[in-house]
Symmetry: C2
Subunit: 314 residues, 2 copies
């Protein structure tokens, strides 16, 4: 399986599945659990101090000999310290959010790391590939967290046609049907985020997992959130109140509205006034599973999907 898959080859993994970085919650042990199941685990440090990032990397290395990645948040405040930590620790795979990593790609290459960059349009993908991105992750409007405007049915084939590096589909994928669809659209693999939040191993508050299980596909909202960039999260009082005022709010009001709200969600379980990044795929997640079950389902479900397609064509 996936013997000639370009994403598996470049990353040295068994299945072309990347776990989307979950800021503050996909820690070292979590990423190691994903990598041990044959996918690529990714540590999501959020804005932790650099010393803690190194601890998480060490924990992951103690638990797996498989490749894993680390996400870098492209906010100027801590970026330099984070990058130094990653380079010192000789991290081999770095992922970035949907933004412009600028000269980080070159720096990463000088330190022997691969750069996997999230993009939201063909233009964006072409620019980052020209700057050296090793893999582009096509982040569609369905996705949770910071994302773009273009739906996966269009974005994935458009980017697959436009660049030569492996393209990963991100957004709306929680099971083998989405995985198969992404491959059909021309992706080499998938990035899965929200589905992994509702996993046994995910170290976030149980209220968040329960909120995901009970949400429908209509229960997310896209706002400009804390960063000023479009972000999709579970629809709750925090986001609805913000949606009503974001057009006229000042930076100061924005900062005030979201201050501490992400940690209030993921650590304290505040589902009403906490910020819960989540994709529209919440509507298709009905059960908490182990990381290994999620990955096994994604992979073992491909064959029945293909059998059905073959029957249509025969």
């Amino acid at each position: 399986m996936f013997a000639d898959n370009p994403l598996c080859k470049v990353l040295g993994i068994q299945y072309p599945i990347i776990q989307g970085a979950l800021a503050w919650i996909s820690d070292g042990p979590f990423a190691a659990a994903v990598s041990n199941s044959g996918a690529l685990g990714v540590i999501g440090p959020g804005m932790r101090p650099a010393s803690e990032i190194i601890e998480e990397i060490e924990k992951a290395r103690a638990l797996t000999d498989k490749p894993f990645g680390v996400n870098v948040v492209l906010w100027p405040e801590q970026m330099e310290a984070h990058l130094k930590a990653l380079f010192d620790a000789k991290v081999e795979i770095i992922t970035t959010a949907i933004s412009d990593p600028g000269n980080i790609i070159e720096m990463a290459h000088e330190h022997g790391a691969l750069m996997l960059c999230l993009v939201g349009s063909v233009r964006h993908a072409q620019r980052l590939v020209a700057e050296g991105a090793d893999v582009v992750i096509a982040c569609s409007n369905e996705a949770g967290g910071h994302t773009g405007e273009i739906g996966g049915m269009v974005l994935v084939p458009a980017i697959a046609d436009a660049v030569k590096v492996p393209v990963v589909a991100s957004g709306g994928i929680a099971d083998a049907r989405g995985f198969a669809a992404a491959l059909a659209l021309g992706a080499s693999g998938v990035q899965v985020g929200t589905r992994f939040v509702a996993s046994k191993e995910c170290p976030c508050h149980d209220n968040i997992k329960q909120a995901i299980l009970h949400a429908t596909e209509e229960d997310t909202l896209m706002t400009d959130h804390l960063s000023g960039s479009p972000m999709r999260g579970l629809r709750n009082r925090l986001l609805e109140e913000w949606a009503r005022k974001e057009a006229t709010a000042t930076k100061q009001e924005r900062r005030q509205h979201f201050k501490g709200r992400y940690k209030a969600a993921v650590y304290e379980g505040d589902t009403e006034m906490g910020s819960i990044p989540a994709g529209q795929v919440v509507g298709r997640i009905r059960e908490i599973k182990s990381v290994n079950e999620i990955i096994t389902d994604l992979v073992s479900g491909l064959e029945p999907v293909l059998d059905r397609l073959q029957r249509e064509l025969s």
Copy 2:
């Protein structure tokens, strides 16, 4: 091929492909050309007088003995006269836009017609199936014209799991990769709209076809448009000006802004101040083809996509 496909069976067509109704432009000869190529052509009367609808139905019948459908616009003003025309003409397949057809489903059944209803969420699909819809068309955020908020990667499998009638994926589909992806996601077939506008036979102004060929996937805009419901169209001066004022505009201003703008586009070729419904898939349309070529490409391209998927799994 498609020997057991439930959509082909219920509609009596060769390929599970529906041509999305193009208001005022998919006339009788156009729908007949689509049906003669093995898909389902659909007449899009827009707000034409009922007598003209009957003429288009007669033209289609003179040109094909294959099934075709007629779209009903659910605006109170002409709906009754339109429905009477359809029932008098014994139209066998009726499609509706993304809205609530109410007791039209029952009336259509009394007159021996099948109802194919566009829906934007699981809730919406379940309600219309309970009311008797024979087929639901899952209209994703990617789509052109009036559409919903949910991306196809999520909407299609969610609706396929929730209802027992055939589900058609609509939004973002222009070629065999999208077709295969829709089938993988659990759809029985696809609805294709924007791709057919850029066809040789489409009787709209050539400027519109050229605008589609030159647009990228970022060149559409969703506004509340004339109807007050979300509608995606080609980004131009008309929509950009409206986007800036829609939040505070009165009904009167809305009517004024869009008055005659649709016909100005499709008949006179005004690409700046005309209203051009179009999906994000414009970014993947680079060539004007005949209706028959479009349908042949959709179908004959499936085999290579499946071969690629099989190679991944072997």
